[in-house]
Amino acid sequence: MNRYLKILMVLVITPLFLSTYAFGLSEAFKDNIYNPGELKPIDSILKVKVGEKAPAFTLPSVSGEKISLNQFKGKKHVVISFVPAAWTPVCSDQWPGYNIVKDIFDKNNAILLGITVDNIPTLFAWTKQMGKLWFPVLSDFWPHGKVAEMFGVLRSDGVSERTLFIIDKEGILRYAHVSDINIRPDLQDIVKELEKLSSQ
Protein backbone atom coordinates (compact mmCIF):
# COMPACT_ATOMS: atom_id res chain seq x y z
CA MET A 1 0.00 0.00 0.00
CA ASN A 2 2.72 2.44 0.97
CA ARG A 3 4.56 1.69 -2.24
CA TYR A 4 1.51 2.48 -4.34
CA LEU A 5 0.89 5.66 -2.40
CA LYS A 6 4.49 6.75 -2.97
CA ILE A 7 4.21 6.12 -6.71
CA LEU A 8 0.95 8.04 -6.77
CA MET A 9 2.46 11.00 -4.95
CA VAL A 10 5.44 11.13 -7.31
CA LEU A 11 3.16 11.01 -10.35
CA VAL A 12 0.90 13.73 -9.02
CA ILE A 13 3.54 16.07 -7.68
CA THR A 14 6.05 15.85 -10.53
CA PRO A 15 3.88 17.66 -13.12
CA LEU A 16 3.44 20.56 -10.72
CA PHE A 17 7.17 21.22 -10.96
CA LEU A 18 7.16 20.95 -14.73
CA SER A 19 5.29 24.22 -14.84
CA THR A 20 7.68 27.08 -15.51
CA TYR A 21 7.32 30.73 -14.75
CA ALA A 22 6.75 32.50 -18.02
CA PHE A 23 8.99 35.49 -17.58
CA GLY A 24 11.41 37.08 -20.00
CA LEU A 25 8.74 36.64 -22.58
CA SER A 26 9.26 39.83 -24.53
CA GLU A 27 10.30 39.31 -28.11
CA ALA A 28 12.90 41.99 -27.40
CA PHE A 29 15.08 39.35 -25.74
CA LYS A 30 14.29 36.59 -28.21
CA ASP A 31 16.79 33.75 -27.84
CA ASN A 32 19.21 35.67 -25.65
CA ILE A 33 17.87 34.60 -22.31
CA TYR A 34 19.56 31.94 -20.23
CA ASN A 35 17.04 30.14 -18.08
CA PRO A 36 18.57 28.87 -14.83
CA GLY A 37 15.34 27.06 -14.01
CA GLU A 38 13.53 27.15 -10.73
CA LEU A 39 15.77 28.44 -7.94
CA LYS A 40 15.59 28.37 -4.17
CA PRO A 41 13.17 31.24 -3.47
CA ILE A 42 15.34 33.09 -0.93
CA ASP A 43 18.93 32.29 -0.05
CA SER A 44 20.18 35.01 2.26
CA ILE A 45 19.33 36.83 5.47
CA LEU A 46 18.67 40.55 5.51
CA LYS A 47 21.23 42.61 7.39
CA VAL A 48 19.23 45.82 7.32
CA LYS A 49 16.13 46.79 9.24
CA VAL A 50 13.26 49.07 8.35
CA GLY A 51 13.52 52.21 10.46
CA GLU A 52 17.31 52.14 10.59
CA LYS A 53 19.87 54.02 8.53
CA ALA A 54 20.60 52.35 5.20
CA PRO A 55 24.25 51.45 4.52
CA ALA A 56 26.04 54.03 2.38
CA PHE A 57 27.49 52.92 -0.93
CA THR A 58 29.00 54.17 -4.14
CA LEU A 59 28.87 52.12 -7.33
CA PRO A 60 29.81 52.62 -10.98
CA SER A 61 26.91 53.00 -13.39
CA VAL A 62 26.46 51.91 -16.99
CA SER A 63 26.52 55.55 -18.09
CA GLY A 64 30.03 55.93 -16.65
CA GLU A 65 29.41 58.03 -13.58
CA LYS A 66 29.67 56.87 -10.00
CA ILE A 67 26.45 56.97 -8.03
CA SER A 68 26.32 57.29 -4.24
CA LEU A 69 23.32 56.81 -2.04
CA ASN A 70 24.37 59.93 -0.15
CA GLN A 71 23.99 62.19 -3.17
CA PHE A 72 20.20 61.89 -2.86
CA LYS A 73 20.13 62.75 0.84
CA GLY A 74 17.73 65.58 1.53
CA LYS A 75 16.63 65.55 -2.11
CA LYS A 76 14.87 62.36 -3.15
CA HIS A 77 13.58 59.07 -1.82
CA VAL A 78 15.57 56.21 -3.28
CA VAL A 79 14.08 52.96 -4.57
CA ILE A 80 16.71 50.27 -5.01
CA SER A 81 15.85 47.34 -7.23
CA PHE A 82 18.34 44.53 -6.87
CA VAL A 83 17.83 41.91 -9.55
CA PRO A 84 19.83 38.68 -9.56
CA ALA A 85 21.49 38.56 -12.95
CA ALA A 86 21.53 39.97 -16.46
CA TRP A 87 20.20 37.84 -19.33
CA THR A 88 17.95 35.76 -17.11
CA PRO A 89 14.19 35.43 -17.50
CA VAL A 90 12.56 37.27 -14.61
CA CYS A 91 15.16 40.04 -14.40
CA SER A 92 14.79 40.84 -18.09
CA ASP A 93 11.09 41.19 -17.45
CA GLN A 94 11.25 43.67 -14.58
CA TRP A 95 13.11 46.90 -15.32
CA PRO A 96 11.44 47.52 -18.73
CA GLY A 97 8.20 47.93 -16.76
CA TYR A 98 9.79 50.46 -14.43
CA ASN A 99 11.01 52.28 -17.50
CA ILE A 100 7.49 53.43 -18.41
CA VAL A 101 6.58 54.75 -14.97
CA LYS A 102 9.08 57.56 -14.48
CA ASP A 103 6.12 59.85 -13.86
CA ILE A 104 5.14 57.83 -10.79
CA PHE A 105 8.66 58.15 -9.36
CA ASP A 106 8.76 61.87 -10.20
CA LYS A 107 5.36 62.46 -8.65
CA ASN A 108 6.58 60.88 -5.43
CA ASN A 109 9.94 62.65 -5.52
CA ALA A 110 11.83 59.39 -5.86
CA ILE A 111 14.69 58.02 -7.91
CA LEU A 112 15.15 54.40 -8.91
CA LEU A 113 18.53 52.70 -8.80
CA GLY A 114 18.82 49.32 -10.53
CA ILE A 115 21.62 47.12 -9.23
CA THR A 116 22.99 43.72 -10.19
CA VAL A 117 26.29 41.98 -9.47
CA ASP A 118 27.12 41.85 -13.20
CA ASN A 119 29.97 43.85 -14.67
CA ILE A 120 29.45 47.05 -16.65
CA PRO A 121 29.90 45.61 -20.19
CA THR A 122 27.34 42.91 -19.46
CA LEU A 123 24.90 45.43 -18.03
CA PHE A 124 25.47 47.72 -20.99
CA ALA A 125 24.59 45.01 -23.51
CA TRP A 126 21.67 43.69 -21.51
CA THR A 127 19.96 47.00 -20.69
CA LYS A 128 20.34 48.14 -24.30
CA GLN A 129 17.67 45.55 -25.16
CA MET A 130 15.28 47.33 -22.82
CA GLY A 131 15.33 50.64 -24.64
CA LYS A 132 16.73 53.80 -23.11
CA LEU A 133 16.36 53.46 -19.36
CA TRP A 134 15.69 56.66 -17.45
CA PHE A 135 17.19 55.39 -14.19
CA PRO A 136 20.82 54.60 -13.34
CA VAL A 137 21.90 50.98 -13.58
CA LEU A 138 24.71 50.18 -11.15
CA SER A 139 27.24 47.40 -11.12
CA ASP A 140 27.98 45.68 -7.83
CA PHE A 141 30.50 43.47 -9.58
CA TRP A 142 33.70 44.33 -7.74
CA PRO A 143 34.41 43.74 -4.92
CA HIS A 144 31.89 41.15 -5.92
CA GLY A 145 28.44 41.78 -4.47
CA LYS A 146 29.80 44.01 -1.71
CA VAL A 147 26.72 46.22 -1.56
CA ALA A 148 24.35 43.26 -1.83
CA GLU A 149 26.26 41.69 1.06
CA MET A 150 25.97 44.89 3.13
CA PHE A 151 22.21 44.75 2.74
CA GLY A 152 22.16 40.99 3.31
CA VAL A 153 20.84 40.08 -0.10
CA LEU A 154 23.81 38.24 -1.59
CA ARG A 155 22.93 34.64 -2.28
CA SER A 156 25.31 31.75 -1.75
CA ASP A 157 25.86 31.39 -5.51
CA GLY A 158 27.09 35.00 -5.85
CA VAL A 159 24.00 36.64 -7.34
CA SER A 160 21.72 38.94 -5.41
CA GLU A 161 18.17 38.37 -4.30
CA ARG A 162 15.31 40.01 -6.14
CA THR A 163 14.81 42.83 -3.69
CA LEU A 164 13.19 46.22 -3.38
CA PHE A 165 14.38 48.74 -0.82
CA ILE A 166 12.93 52.18 -0.30
CA ILE A 167 15.14 54.66 1.51
CA ASP A 168 13.71 58.02 2.43
CA LYS A 169 15.34 61.40 1.89
CA GLU A 170 16.94 61.18 5.33
CA GLY A 171 18.66 57.94 4.46
CA ILE A 172 16.36 55.77 6.59
CA LEU A 173 15.24 52.42 5.22
CA ARG A 174 11.46 52.57 4.99
CA TYR A 175 10.64 49.41 3.01
CA ALA A 176 12.41 46.15 2.35
CA HIS A 177 10.96 43.33 0.35
CA VAL A 178 12.88 40.24 -0.71
CA SER A 179 10.82 38.46 -3.35
CA ASP A 180 10.91 34.84 -4.29
CA ILE A 181 13.74 35.04 -6.84
CA ASN A 182 11.54 33.24 -9.38
CA ILE A 183 8.76 35.82 -9.29
CA ARG A 184 8.60 39.43 -10.35
CA PRO A 185 7.09 41.69 -7.67
CA ASP A 186 3.95 43.59 -8.60
CA LEU A 187 4.63 47.21 -9.49
CA GLN A 188 1.76 48.21 -7.24
CA ASP A 189 3.83 47.33 -4.16
CA ILE A 190 6.39 50.04 -4.96
CA VAL A 191 3.73 52.58 -5.85
CA LYS A 192 1.80 51.99 -2.63
CA GLU A 193 4.92 52.41 -0.53
CA LEU A 194 6.03 55.53 -2.38
CA GLU A 195 2.62 57.12 -2.02
CA LYS A 196 2.62 56.28 1.68
CA LEU A 197 6.01 57.92 2.03
CA SER A 198 4.95 60.99 0.06
CA SER A 199 1.87 61.51 2.15
CA GLN A 200 3.83 61.63 5.41
Binding site: P15, A22, F23, L25, S26, G97, V101, Q188
Partner: protein, 189 residues
Protein backbone atom coordinates in the same frame (compact mmCIF):
# COMPACT_ATOMS: atom_id res chain seq x y z
CA UNK B 1 -5.14 -3.43 -3.06
CA UNK B 2 -5.77 -3.82 -6.78
CA UNK B 3 -8.76 -1.51 -6.55
CA UNK B 4 -6.69 1.18 -4.87
CA UNK B 5 -4.05 0.95 -7.58
CA UNK B 6 -6.61 1.18 -10.40
CA UNK B 7 -8.29 4.17 -8.79
CA UNK B 8 -4.92 5.79 -8.27
CA UNK B 9 -3.99 5.20 -11.88
CA UNK B 10 -7.25 6.74 -13.02
CA UNK B 11 -6.71 9.78 -10.83
CA UNK B 12 -3.17 10.27 -12.12
CA UNK B 13 -4.31 9.95 -15.74
CA UNK B 14 -7.03 12.52 -15.21
CA UNK B 15 -4.63 14.83 -13.45
CA UNK B 16 -2.04 14.60 -16.19
CA UNK B 17 -4.68 15.12 -18.85
CA UNK B 18 -6.08 18.20 -17.16
CA UNK B 19 -2.54 19.53 -16.69
CA UNK B 20 -1.78 19.10 -20.37
CA UNK B 21 -5.01 20.84 -21.32
CA UNK B 22 -4.24 23.78 -19.04
CA UNK B 23 -0.62 24.21 -20.07
CA UNK B 24 -0.61 24.11 -23.84
CA UNK B 25 2.79 23.74 -25.38
CA UNK B 26 1.93 25.41 -28.69
CA UNK B 27 0.07 28.59 -29.55
CA UNK B 28 -3.39 28.14 -31.06
CA UNK B 29 -2.91 27.36 -34.74
CA UNK B 30 -4.57 28.81 -37.82
CA UNK B 31 -7.60 26.76 -38.79
CA UNK B 32 -8.16 25.61 -35.24
CA UNK B 33 -10.39 26.92 -32.50
CA UNK B 34 -9.44 28.96 -29.49
CA UNK B 35 -8.99 27.17 -26.21
CA UNK B 36 -11.55 28.35 -23.72
CA UNK B 37 -10.26 31.70 -22.49
CA UNK B 38 -12.51 32.89 -19.71
CA UNK B 39 -12.34 36.62 -19.05
CA UNK B 40 -14.14 38.92 -16.67
CA UNK B 41 -16.62 41.34 -18.20
CA UNK B 42 -14.78 44.68 -18.12
CA UNK B 43 -16.13 47.11 -15.52
CA UNK B 44 -16.08 50.18 -17.80
CA UNK B 45 -19.43 50.72 -19.58
CA UNK B 46 -17.67 51.87 -22.76
CA UNK B 47 -15.73 48.60 -22.92
CA UNK B 48 -18.89 46.57 -22.29
CA UNK B 49 -20.60 48.46 -25.08
CA UNK B 50 -17.61 47.96 -27.38
CA UNK B 51 -17.68 44.20 -26.83
CA UNK B 52 -21.45 43.89 -26.77
CA UNK B 53 -21.43 42.54 -23.23
CA UNK B 54 -23.37 43.59 -20.19
CA UNK B 55 -23.30 43.32 -16.42
CA UNK B 56 -20.77 41.44 -14.38
CA UNK B 57 -19.48 37.92 -14.60
CA UNK B 58 -17.39 36.17 -17.17
CA UNK B 59 -17.38 35.61 -20.88
CA UNK B 60 -15.53 33.77 -23.58
CA UNK B 61 -14.19 35.29 -26.79
CA UNK B 62 -16.89 33.93 -29.13
CA UNK B 63 -19.47 35.81 -27.03
CA UNK B 64 -18.05 39.13 -28.18
CA UNK B 65 -20.43 40.83 -30.57
CA UNK B 66 -18.23 40.93 -33.65
CA UNK B 67 -17.33 39.02 -36.75
CA UNK B 68 -13.63 39.18 -36.07
CA UNK B 69 -11.83 39.47 -32.74
CA UNK B 70 -8.16 40.24 -32.52
CA UNK B 71 -6.39 39.36 -29.29
CA UNK B 72 -3.08 40.90 -28.47
CA UNK B 73 -1.05 39.06 -25.85
CA UNK B 74 1.16 41.78 -24.38
CA UNK B 75 2.97 42.74 -21.21
CA UNK B 76 3.65 46.15 -19.72
CA UNK B 77 7.15 44.81 -19.02
CA UNK B 78 7.78 44.02 -22.70
CA UNK B 79 9.79 46.70 -24.57
CA UNK B 80 8.42 45.64 -27.96
CA UNK B 81 4.85 45.91 -26.66
CA UNK B 82 5.65 49.37 -25.32
CA UNK B 83 7.18 50.44 -28.63
CA UNK B 84 4.26 49.01 -30.59
CA UNK B 85 1.50 50.46 -28.40
CA UNK B 86 0.93 53.63 -30.43
CA UNK B 87 0.83 51.70 -33.70
CA UNK B 88 -1.72 49.31 -32.21
CA UNK B 89 -3.73 52.38 -31.17
CA UNK B 90 -3.58 53.66 -34.75
CA UNK B 91 -4.78 50.29 -35.98
CA UNK B 92 -7.67 50.44 -33.50
CA UNK B 93 -8.61 53.97 -34.56
CA UNK B 94 -8.45 53.02 -38.23
CA UNK B 95 -11.10 50.38 -37.54
CA UNK B 96 -13.19 52.63 -35.32
CA UNK B 97 -13.19 55.36 -37.96
CA UNK B 98 -14.43 52.99 -40.60
CA UNK B 99 -18.22 52.74 -40.51
CA UNK B 100 -18.24 49.39 -42.26
CA UNK B 101 -15.72 47.79 -39.98
CA UNK B 102 -16.22 49.21 -36.52
CA UNK B 103 -19.02 46.83 -35.59
CA UNK B 104 -17.34 43.88 -37.24
CA UNK B 105 -13.78 43.93 -35.85
CA UNK B 106 -12.99 44.17 -32.17
CA UNK B 107 -9.62 44.34 -30.50
CA UNK B 108 -8.70 43.25 -26.98
CA UNK B 109 -5.42 42.93 -25.11
CA UNK B 110 -4.43 40.37 -22.50
CA UNK B 111 -1.57 41.37 -20.20
CA UNK B 112 0.47 38.21 -19.64
CA UNK B 113 1.67 38.18 -16.04
CA UNK B 114 0.25 41.66 -15.50
CA UNK B 115 -1.95 42.50 -12.54
CA UNK B 116 -4.97 44.80 -12.90
CA UNK B 117 -2.81 47.63 -11.63
CA UNK B 118 -0.08 46.93 -14.18
CA UNK B 119 -2.54 46.64 -17.05
CA UNK B 120 -4.02 49.96 -15.98
CA UNK B 121 -0.57 51.56 -15.94
CA UNK B 122 -0.02 50.37 -19.51
CA UNK B 123 -3.47 51.59 -20.58
CA UNK B 124 -2.94 55.05 -19.12
CA UNK B 125 0.63 55.36 -20.35
CA UNK B 126 -0.34 54.75 -23.97
CA UNK B 127 -3.94 56.04 -23.88
CA UNK B 128 -5.32 52.70 -24.94
CA UNK B 129 -9.04 52.81 -25.62
CA UNK B 130 -9.79 49.17 -26.35
CA UNK B 131 -10.29 46.75 -23.43
CA UNK B 132 -7.24 45.27 -21.73
CA UNK B 133 -7.51 42.31 -19.39
CA UNK B 134 -5.11 41.26 -16.62
CA UNK B 135 -3.60 37.80 -16.53
CA UNK B 136 -1.59 38.16 -13.35
CA UNK B 137 -1.06 34.47 -12.74
CA UNK B 138 -0.26 33.69 -16.40
CA UNK B 139 -3.20 31.28 -16.55
CA UNK B 140 -4.35 32.53 -19.95
CA UNK B 141 -0.79 32.86 -21.15
CA UNK B 142 -0.24 29.19 -20.34
CA UNK B 143 -3.39 28.19 -22.22
CA UNK B 144 -2.19 29.98 -25.35
CA UNK B 145 1.15 28.19 -25.30
CA UNK B 146 3.28 30.70 -23.35
CA UNK B 147 3.87 32.79 -26.43
CA UNK B 148 6.40 35.58 -26.53
CA UNK B 149 5.02 39.09 -26.70
CA UNK B 150 3.52 40.86 -28.52
CA UNK B 151 1.51 38.06 -30.10
CA UNK B 152 -1.68 38.49 -32.14
CA UNK B 153 -4.44 35.93 -32.58
CA UNK B 154 -7.23 36.61 -35.06
CA UNK B 155 -10.53 34.78 -34.58
CA UNK B 156 -13.45 34.69 -36.99
CA UNK B 157 -16.70 34.42 -35.07
CA UNK B 158 -19.64 32.60 -36.59
CA UNK B 159 -23.16 31.74 -35.53
CA UNK B 160 -23.81 30.14 -32.16
CA UNK B 161 -20.28 30.45 -30.86
CA UNK B 162 -18.66 28.72 -33.80
CA UNK B 163 -15.29 30.25 -34.53
CA UNK B 164 -11.94 29.60 -36.14
CA UNK B 165 -8.50 31.09 -35.91
CA UNK B 166 -7.28 32.78 -39.09
CA UNK B 167 -4.19 34.51 -37.72
CA UNK B 168 -1.73 33.49 -35.00
CA UNK B 169 1.61 35.17 -35.09
CA UNK B 170 4.40 36.59 -32.95
CA UNK B 171 5.32 40.21 -33.52
CA UNK B 172 3.80 43.65 -33.42
CA UNK B 173 2.02 45.65 -36.09
CA UNK B 174 4.39 47.37 -38.49
CA UNK B 175 1.87 49.33 -40.51
CA UNK B 176 -1.77 49.70 -39.39
CA UNK B 177 -3.20 49.92 -42.91
CA UNK B 178 -1.26 46.93 -44.18
CA UNK B 179 -2.17 44.94 -41.10
CA UNK B 180 -5.84 45.77 -41.57
CA UNK B 181 -5.67 44.68 -45.21
CA UNK B 182 -4.08 41.42 -44.12
CA UNK B 183 -6.73 40.83 -41.46
CA UNK B 184 -9.53 41.54 -43.95
CA UNK B 185 -7.97 39.23 -46.48
CA UNK B 186 -7.30 36.35 -44.09
CA UNK B 187 -10.62 36.59 -42.30
CA UNK B 188 -12.61 36.92 -45.52
CA UNK B 189 -14.50 39.94 -44.20
Amino acid sequence: MKKVFILSGLFVTLFLFSYLVVAATKPPGVGGVLPELILSVPPKPEHQKYLGLAGEGRFIIPQIKAEVVLLEIFSMYCPHCQNNAQIVNEFYRTIENNRNLKEKIKLIGIGAGNSSFEVDVFRKKYNIEFPLFPDGDYSIHKIVGEVRTPYFIGVKIGEGGAHSIFYSKLGGIENPDNFLSLILQLSGL
